[in-house]
Structure formats: C-alpha cells, structure tokens
Point group: D2
Chain length 167, copies 4
Amino acid sequence: MAPSPVRLFVTGGTFDKKYNELDGSLFFEDTHLPEMLRLGRCGLELSVRTLMMINSLEMTAADRALIVEQCRSAAESRIVITHGTDTMVETALVLSDAFPASGHKTILLTGAMVPYAFGSSDGLFNLGSALSFVQVLPPGVYIAMNGKYFPSGRVRKNRETGVFEEF
Amino acid sequence: MAPSPVRLFVTGGTFDKKYNELDGSLFFEDTHLPEMLRLGRCGLELSVRTLMMINSLEMTAADRALIVEQCRSAAESRIVITHGTDTMVETALVLSDAFPASGHKTILLTGAMVPYAFGSSDGLFNLGSALSFVQVLPPGVYIAMNGKYFPSGRVRKNRETGVFEEF
Amino acid sequence: MAPSPVRLFVTGGTFDKKYNELDGSLFFEDTHLPEMLRLGRCGLELSVRTLMMINSLEMTAADRALIVEQCRSAAESRIVITHGTDTMVETALVLSDAFPASGHKTILLTGAMVPYAFGSSDGLFNLGSALSFVQVLPPGVYIAMNGKYFPSGRVRKNRETGVFEEF
Amino acid sequence: MAPSPVRLFVTGGTFDKKYNELDGSLFFEDTHLPEMLRLGRCGLELSVRTLMMINSLEMTAADRALIVEQCRSAAESRIVITHGTDTMVETALVLSDAFPASGHKTILLTGAMVPYAFGSSDGLFNLGSALSFVQVLPPGVYIAMNGKYFPSGRVRKNRETGVFEEF
C-alpha cells in the first residue's frame, strides 16, 4: 500500500531566507524545498507549489484566504505548508475553521528557526517530521515543530525561547 | 497532553561514520545523535543510549539479541533505533518476532545513506521522520526511510538505488 | 627556518555575524577565528586578539586609532586584521599613514562577503590567503580579497558586484 | 598591475573524494575545484585543468612525468597543483629537478586532509593559501599546507599527526 500523495505548499518564512552579500540583509528568492527533499532522499509522491515567499509577519488576511483556497482546491487530502514561525499559530487557526477534524483533510504547518541556507537549520528535521505526521494523523490542522505535533488552537510560540508549547 | 517519552537506541551505521584524516578510512567514534537533536531543536522527552557503534554488515545474532533485550527492558513504549541501512530489514524482522502488533511497543528503525558528519546527510530528515512516526503509529516494528514508514516484513532495501521499497 | 610569528586582530565584520533565531536579525557574539584556524589545520605561530566586534559601517575614527595603536605595540612584524568589507579600504588608508612601505611591518586586512556561520563563506579561503600573503609581502599595508592582494590606496570595493578592484 | 595568470592542475587526492552512498566507499568523480573557487569569490585569471583524478598512493612515475610535462608546456609561469597529501612530497621532488629556483616557474602543490564534500575541509583554506603564495614566491617548487609554504626537499608529512614539517 503506497502512501497517499502529499501536497506541499511553500509560503516563505525563515526556511527560505537567503543572505544578500552586497548589503548584508536577509531576503527571499527561490525556495530550497526541492533541494531539501532531494537531500532527504524523500520518496513520497509529492507535488510542491510556491504560494508566496514572504516573512510571516507580513502575511495578510488576503494571503491567508489564498492559502485556505489552495488547500480546498488541492486534490490531495494530505497537505504540508511551510510557514514563518512568527504567525504560524494564527494561520493554523484560520485553516482550522475551514478544515475541521470532522472533515477529510490533514494539514500540517511547519517552519524553521534558522534558514536552511545557513547550514545549521532545524528545517530538514522539521520537514521530515511534518511529512511523517501528515501521513498518519487524523483530519484536522496541526503544527509540527520541535519534533512534536500540536493541534491548532492549543499551541503558542514562546517568544523568549523560540519553542512551540501546548496550552 | 504531552507526548509520550521516547527511548532512542544508537547502534552505529552510516549515521555516525567519521572520516579518519590520517589514513582516509571511515570509522566510528562517538554518536552525533545528541548534536542532531539539538540542531533539530527537538523538544521531546527523550533518553539516548548507545548500544553499540558498528557497521550493520558486522551485526551478529548476539548483537540483535541485545537490541531485543534492551527494547524489552526499556520503560518507554515508544522506541527509535538508529541502524546501518544494509541489514536494517533483518534486525526489524528479529524485533517483530519479539514485539508483535498485538503488543504495546512501537519501534521505528531509521538510518542514513550519507554520514551526518559529511554535511549532506539525509540523517536529520530521517531522524525527524522516525521520531514523528513513533509517536503516532500503533504497536509494531517499522522502518522509517525516504520519508515513509514500512511495516517490518514488507520492506527491502533496493541495492541498486539505495531506496527502501514495500513489497 | 620557521615562519615568523603572526598577530591576528579581530574587528568583526561579516566574518563573524551570527543569525539570531529569536528575531531573525544578524548580530555579533564571539569570533569564529579560532575555529576557522583549527579547521584550516593552521600551523603558524599565531596569537589572536579581538579588538572590537562591530559592523565596519559603524567603525569610528577612535576605533581606527585603536587599531593603529595595537598594530604599533604588537611585537610581531606580520599582522592580519579581519574587518568588515564596507570600510576596509578606509581603515587600510589610515593604517598606511602609520605603517609605510619604508617601515618594517607587513599588515594585511581581509574579510568575508558571507558569514562563516552560514556554511558557504568565502571567509576560510580569504583567511588562508591573507595569512599566506602576510608571510611573504614586503612591509606596507594591503588588502587580501578575492584571492588577490592590493596595496592600500590603490583599491576600492565595487558596490555593485561586491568585488575588490585595483585602480 | 593585474596579478599574473595562474594555471591550476588537478590530480585528485582527498580534496576531491566523494562518499558512495550505495556501498559506503570513497571515490573520485568530478573535481570540486571550480565550485571552491566560486565559493572563495576568487578573482584571479585562472585556468583549471584536470590531469588525473587519483589517490596519490597510486600515482606512478608515468603520472609524475605527465605532471612535469604539463607544467613545462603551460604558458603560465605560476602553477598550483592539487594533490593527495600522502605522496605530495615525492611529486614535489620530481618537479624540483625539472623546475629549479634558477628557472622562471613558481609551482605550489597543495592538498587537503578532509574531503571538501565532507563539509569540514581544510581544502578551502589551503587553496586560498596556495593561490596566494604562488603569486609572490620566487621561482621554484613548494608545498603549501597548514598555512605555511615549504621549499621542496626540505619538507615531510608527519604520518602520526598529519602535519607537514620542515626539516
């Protein structure tokens, strides 16, 4: 029994930040997700689509509506979304209104504390984690960070420690 | 509801190979698992124990008996074992005799195709994957590789491609 | 004949930037120079001293006076200074007033376009370069970047390309 | 005054070893030198040519004759050769018969203790070092390792420590 196909939506976040060597700033360009999947020798049937490439502090209600709409129209019932950690909890709440536990879609949001390009990222670990949880968790919206999964609505990011916590 | 504590047994394998710069050979020394868990910002309640540090081609029946015994005496019901990929399937079979699906232990074996120390490893991805599957899969013995999980007894490593396949 | 001892002064710059995972900013903490020298298996008799740890855009006349003073009081006649690339040319000019070609000190400034911690730095290459030039160039003040050396006063950083050029 | 053009000959060695993930062995494929030069933002006028791609323990007299011949026919008077460290001293001796200090070619051999692909190599440091020494040292044959240069005939590799020493 092959695993169900998974849809992977990219929205940006620390995952995909790069270093601009001309002015020393951090910026977004192309996503590193395909390279990370290759590095992880990921064998899942997986289609990747970039929805936006932004810092999640700048994500608007319209951006979130677009994410909901894309999840709705995806043929796959299993969806992973890469997202900045600063407002991941907020986006998860918006998604959980549209995709309740009584539905048939399992949606995992994940992110990174350190850019993948900076060589010391938690991104590869989190990506492996989110792609695994999404295959086995029941329908609903979750966050996968720090090796754990959290049902949306019961999780916050601790701003002092950078760690996600259940409450 | 905090996740169940997880026991992590280290047996060596490509995961932990190092490069000997004096003679150009590959060898084992200390495990990189604690460093990898730190890098992944893993927040699970997790205790790590090194059982052996060997190439899995050299693993004996006595070594496998030791692994079974350690899984049996572990207080945790959720166990991840890092293991060389060459004989991971064989060890999974031995474990599944001792820990059937009707039991209460969930055991995941995982490994790496490229040493973590070589900077381009799939190990971090696989570790995130195995630690996630172990939290949600029902009792039994599984292999986590290539972003998938495989029930023991229904999986082989394709020697030509290095990829794990269900059959 | 053993090579002359070398003094290495650290002033910060991109070389030593780190990523703050709590707010996504870049900042300075400890220098990576000792780790880089270890990685390069550098066998030179070398003493490292951190003079400041700043972005070179914020370097003041007083900071430059301190660098001159430290070069003057150093017992070694061969000195390498790590420095942000944005004002490296300016500091080299200040130093060349104090340490002319007719003197007996050879001073090399070097830097990096990408932080060492970001895993893809030119810093290790430039460090190997500066430590080599400093052993063989005659007295005077130079910049070592892009695999070349430039006498102070005949070099500028091209802001569009990030490359150092002789003029 | 632009720096003289440099010829870079690649012969293999630890510099260019890769990890074969199917059988766990180390092997040679393409050289990493162009990538390393890009990473180092090297701006020298430089032409790279691969002469062979071997472990230096397997280098024959015919291989060394080929290296001598290629150095002789190179238009450039400044040449860097990447080479395995195990027999680098021997090749330097052969070269120094053909290219004495009274000649007009400056030849630097360099290598690495750890493969570049393994993410923790001294190769980038040594490459920056050799490319710098070659621009300023007088004619003759030298080895550049550990941040130092050694005239051929006065250097050995310490097999216990992996460090190059003058004698």
